[in-house]
Subunit: 404 residues, 2 copies
Amino acid sequence: MVTLREIPGGITAPAGFRAAGVPAGIKASGAPDVALIVPESGSTGAALFTTNQVQAAPVSVSREHLARSGGRVAAVLVNSGCANACTGPDGLEVTRASAQAVAARLGCPVEQVLIASTGVIGVALDRAKLLAGIDRAADALSATGGGHAARAILTTDLGPKEHAVEVCTGNGGFRVGGMAKGAGMIEPLLATMLAFVTTDARVDAVLLHEALAASADDTLNAITVDGECSTNDTLVALASGASGVQITRGAGLDALTAGMRAVCHKLALDIVRGGEGATRLVAVRVTGAHDRAAAKQAARTIANSLLVKTAIHGGDPNWGRLVAAAGRSGVPFDLSRALVRVGAVVLFRDGLPFDEAAPEAARVLQGTEIEIQVDLGTGGADEATVWTCDLSAEYVRINGEYRT
Amino acid sequence: MVTLREIPGGITAPAGFRAAGVPAGIKASGAPDVALIVPESGSTGAALFTTNQVQAAPVSVSREHLARSGGRVAAVLVNSGCANACTGPDGLEVTRASAQAVAARLGCPVEQVLIASTGVIGVALDRAKLLAGIDRAADALSATGGGHAARAILTTDLGPKEHAVEVCTGNGGFRVGGMAKGAGMIEPLLATMLAFVTTDARVDAVLLHEALAASADDTLNAITVDGECSTNDTLVALASGASGVQITRGAGLDALTAGMRAVCHKLALDIVRGGEGATRLVAVRVTGAHDRAAAKQAARTIANSLLVKTAIHGGDPNWGRLVAAAGRSGVPFDLSRALVRVGAVVLFRDGLPFDEAAPEAARVLQGTEIEIQVDLGTGGADEATVWTCDLSAEYVRINGEYRT
């Protein structure tokens, strides 16, 4: 019997973590821009990185470190305000120097330091400012510093994104916490989702990675703001073991995954809600598929359709755009048995529209959180949900303005 | 030696075609909405249809007719104002009845009649209005009626799109003409590219199809306005043979393809220029690929990127968004050897930016016709170009308004 309970806080809600967030002058605004997460010694770590072939320097270095350390993580350094992407050998050098500085300051092997950056692509990261920021952050580390870290990783997000849960199992309780920054292009040339999940469960790196991948699949990997995949996307999980609850494949892995999924789910929805110009959070649920991959592909195609996103923005229950998007998604789709539902309102079933229901569906679309269901009509039992937001003129304004 | 010369007119510029465009009351505005194209008896035809699994009734019927007739076409009926898509068995019945009416009026087998519709999805096509329109259009058929037909297939396009060329070969001259309507969602729920190409060359249906497919590949199949694929897309080619110039695989096929490609190219660019809210026509040229398919996939990903399209709208020479889009396109990409050029201005080469060139590139982006080149850096010799337009707040406004 596993139960989850929401608790306040983020990455320092679980025991065994210190964190800090400080201003280092990388952002011109003077807002906090360097964060440090330091788990107790002996912590395990796992991470997922962007699939973009263009990978920022911190992504390359973190991949390499995690492979060399075999899943031991002593610190995670994050900076906002500069992505350190497409910056050539100099950018790689700055990332390596910052990892060295963290390792020297904390007295850990350099390969146990992970790095994440977010901000403008193609701009050099200021080495002196970053190194000074590392010192300041190390001084500020505290067991209640999660909130400061959550603010220091933001770019132009509307506010910090933090969630935590307490997981109770037959073998005892442990906690999972997390923080994230937005996935939209929060300002021109800035495109990154960063998320960090901590737990005080005791778990080896292999199982932690398994739980992380399973948690991300239908949460942080099932959202879209604009269909763009960043050069810096990073999701890190850290396990301190401070709760003393040991996770094995037979005992606790499901509970850990459930806790991590709950935190990732809430962070994911926060990211979509905070998407650029977004006014509505939309769950696109595709049912009636022969496998989950097909359901997700159709859901993703619908969730990224400009015509669907503009129709939702305009409050138009436009089922024609939904079936047209499903029809071009490349997965089997049978219009004569398909179904479209907005909230509880059926708009299309078995090849025919219910236009008399359109006014009621339009009222549903006035809400800020909406579920849309498209059944592919192929008789399959699999389904998937992708969360998206509407597309507004504000998105165009934000991303159409010149960077300088 | 093949030479091409632009000539005035559209589908009736080649000999052996009559056409008409008349108002039938399908559009509430009273604008022309029924067109008829009638080649001389004995004409051959070929067509390409939407790849969307949701196919409108006219697409299903035209596919079936073309297969049954073995590439003989005696008439093409087009209506605008109603897509007759997602309209169930009744919609299919109206399409079949309209083909029967055209066949009876012209005295041809019903399977030699092709049908195309464009307009709102999910709304019934008015049978009585359409049948009356067919009679009126048949009365109005003339050898100079191409311009009327070009107007009757429009929805809210800014104006008609017609082009024609004269092709001179060692074996004599022939003509190719064409007309099209827009590919953007010209108004909510209306999503269709229709294009019709005529020639007075004498060519069998197999070679005509081959020339059509080759012509469309890098023209009408290489454009995007919003990445959406309609339920009604139709491209038809008709050959009257009236010039007397016989096309065989060994003699004239290249010339015919060149003529058809020239007309399709001009129609394609007209469609992108007329994209909803578009202010700029952008040629995205991807070079350095190992095969053409990879080049086209990368070009299409860049051309559909919201961040690229909004940057171009804002006049921002944002090479970071271009390399990020190429990097997520799924084809091999080597950042350390990649190149980005806007017009003649190199912004990125061999892993490093040339930011000092940004102001000059920003000036290039003030133009209305822009070429952007991205070299994938893999050393391949293949390339492809996809034409797109910028994304403006006007696009969101047009597609966000409620249908009614």
